[in-house]
């Protein structure tokens, strides 16, 4: 029984996860659904992992889903994708930005950053649908690495059957005026990345 659509956005503090999940939550409301969004702020801005849940449905009670119920996991960072894999639903979609950010234990040589293949293998327990997306590279090409999250958002939107306009309208409302054009372009770029 699928009575809600669950999204989980993960990454490292400062990667724009909050903006992206804000947009998805707003789009849900705009589509006439109930929507809830949950994230923990606090210590996380000090370089820790960040997660943000968004749920859409006719009526949403809990702001967070159970493990194994996330339909779309959007990860801005490869290691973080692996960490949150247990939340993904069977046959769910994992959309992963091709970017590695070393943790302090890794950068100081105390731990090793796992190979991408190892992370992808974790997902094999749940799904074949792992999308390694060139979000950062695309954003860099567009002149601003900060829009990588919006590139992934575009990619995500292409998997949902709702039309582009609702997304673009919300982006326009959520983003500071001088960045609207860039973000809309990044969104459209992301939509097209999924061939």
């Amino acid at each position: 029984m699928v009575d809600s659509i669950n999204f989980l956005f993960v990454g490292v503090g400062g990667q724009g996860i909050i903006l992206v999940s804000d947009v998805v939550a707003d789009v849900g409301l705009k589509l006439g659904l109930d929507a809830k969004k949950s994230e923990i702020h606090g210590m996380s801005q000090r370089g820790g992992s960040v997660e943000s849940h968004v749920r859409w449905g006719d009526k949403v009670y809990s702001p967070i889903p159970a493990k194994g119920e996330v339909n779309y996991l959007v990860a801005m960072e490869i290691l973080e994708a692996g960490r949150w894999a247990p939340y993904l639903a069977p046959d769910g979609e994992a959309i992963i930005n091709n970017q590695q950010i070393a943790s302090l234990s890794v950068s100081s040589g105390l731990a090793r950053y796992p190979e991408t293949e190892r992370i992808v293998n974790i997902f094999a327990q749940r799904t074949k649908n792992v999308h390694l997306v060139e979000g950062l590279a695309t954003a860099r090409r567009m002149g601003n690495p900060a829009v990588a999250g919006v590139v992934l958002l575009g990619y995500l939107s292409s998997m949902l059957q709702y039309d582009e306009a609702a997304w673009l309208e919300v982006i326009e409302k959520r983003v500071p005026a001088r960045f609207v054009k860039l973000n809309k372009e990044a969104f459209v770029e992301g939509r097209h990345l999924r061939g």
Binding site: L29, Q45, R46, I64, A66, G68, G82, I122, Q125, R126
Partner: protein, 586 residues
Amino acid sequence: MKKLLSGNEAIALGAYESGVKVAAAYPGTPSTEILENLAKYPGLWAEWSPNEKVALDVAIGAAYAGQRALATMKMVGLNVAADSLFYVAYTGLVGGLVIVTADDPGMHSSQNEQDNRQYARFAKVPMVEPSDSQECKDFVGYALDISERFDAPVLLRTTTRVAHSQTAVEVEERSGPQGDGEPKSYKRDKAKYVMVPGYARARHPVVEQRLKDLAEFAETFEGNRIEWGSPDLGIISGGIAYQYAREVFKDASFLKLGMSYPLPERKIKEFASKVKRLLVVEDLDPFWEEQVRLMGVEVEGKKYFPMIGEFSPDVVRAGAVKAGLMEEKALAPVELPELPGRPPILCPGCRHRGVFFVLSKLKAVVNGDIGCYALGVNPPLAAVDTTGCMGASFGVVHGVNKAGIVERAVGVLGDSTFFHSGIAPLINIVYNGSNSTTIILDNHTTAMTGHQENPGTGRTLLGEPTDAIDIENLVRAIGVKDVRVVDPYDLKAVEAALKGAFATEGPSVIIATGPCVLKTREKRGVIVVDGERCNGCGLCLRVGCAAVVRASDKLVRIDELQCTGCTLCMQTCARKAMSLVEQGGR
């Protein structure tokens, strides 16, 4: 129009629309955004007070003056303000008074996991508890009405998930505050407001009767509602636990408690009599379960649901399985290999790092405190030996030194914490004379909770300029003679100051001053490593900065994006392999 608001934004909106005239708080996760949002509304006074007790006294004053008032704090803040909660419980008030206590089950950013529903029973005051943002907004209004009708302060409890989740709220296009907010003539009533023993004795029976009246009110309070489902299972729940329980027990009947205390006994008994099995689903303490059992009602709860940690749909489901109400999920859990963790760390360029690096080098015992600098406990700095509650450091270090130890003990706290509760223990160090060295890490902000103003910053919550309290002058006025002000980016200077302070008889204070880089986003440049000179000894890695990276060839590399050019790593390099390239210098 429906809009997604966080619980905290919704509380602010509710307070504004209900005509709150004065609001005071000390920041603390997960409560901070309430006042930050309320400060944006016109026609009211909102302030950061130096600590929660002051904030509550300010709100009480406004309520005595006949206006609606709000005080907000994280749950441990109510410990600080508890003395005031207990007197206002006796005096009552004129204008409505709501005290928000934001609990943090799971300790996302707290030092303990207390359940502040206990304060309602302890202080004999009513408590309401919203489950989503719409209720956050509505319950502020209910609470103010209850406060005025029953002449009692009302606690409003949120938890992290309610405070920080965004859920839909019905928002009117142009809403405005209730009431006129005009100054009223002060209502004197000494027997009611002067809590000397003679008068206080007369108030206690009033408080007890008020609780009875409130319990009667709870029977019909619209926030306590029954949602009938199957009679096989009845669930009593409230707060965020209610949402999880609704999600897990899809067919059950619910008694949803919007008022956590006092409880509606008749309603509970009626509900219990109509269901075959009764469960209480509540996070942390068995607060409702015990009271329901005392009513003589057969009930289960903590037998299946934990008292520790934050609830979630998974936790509630696991309890349901334990209670024999559900099968284990068929879905096998994902097996995770061991992955490197990513705990919060001091930011690249953080000035606290310089002080902790030297403290670690000198092997001082560090009685630390609560703020970003608590992160100084993490390796490789591993410099902090104790952290308890705000302001504890300066009292603890005095005790350590009075007991006497072989090493040197140092007390360390930040500027906001100094104003919060560090001044009295510093006075104690002077008054009762101990050989204590104390350090104030003055980054000119309350960083940990997101850069709030404090009495040292020269600005108020409303963004207006005000007189900044000068920490150095204050410390000298207290009577500390050995006061040293240092730049924490200068490791030699920090070490010299510490050694000088250690050599001094009597109290000494070091003020390590310089702004928070996360706030100023300053970037002096980047450090570059001379690959010829670097021999990979790893000394520089001991500063524990995310921008200093051990590359695959074992030599050190600098992450240019993260590096702020603070030079702390460079100062540790024995081979002079590092240099600063100033911003724009290349």
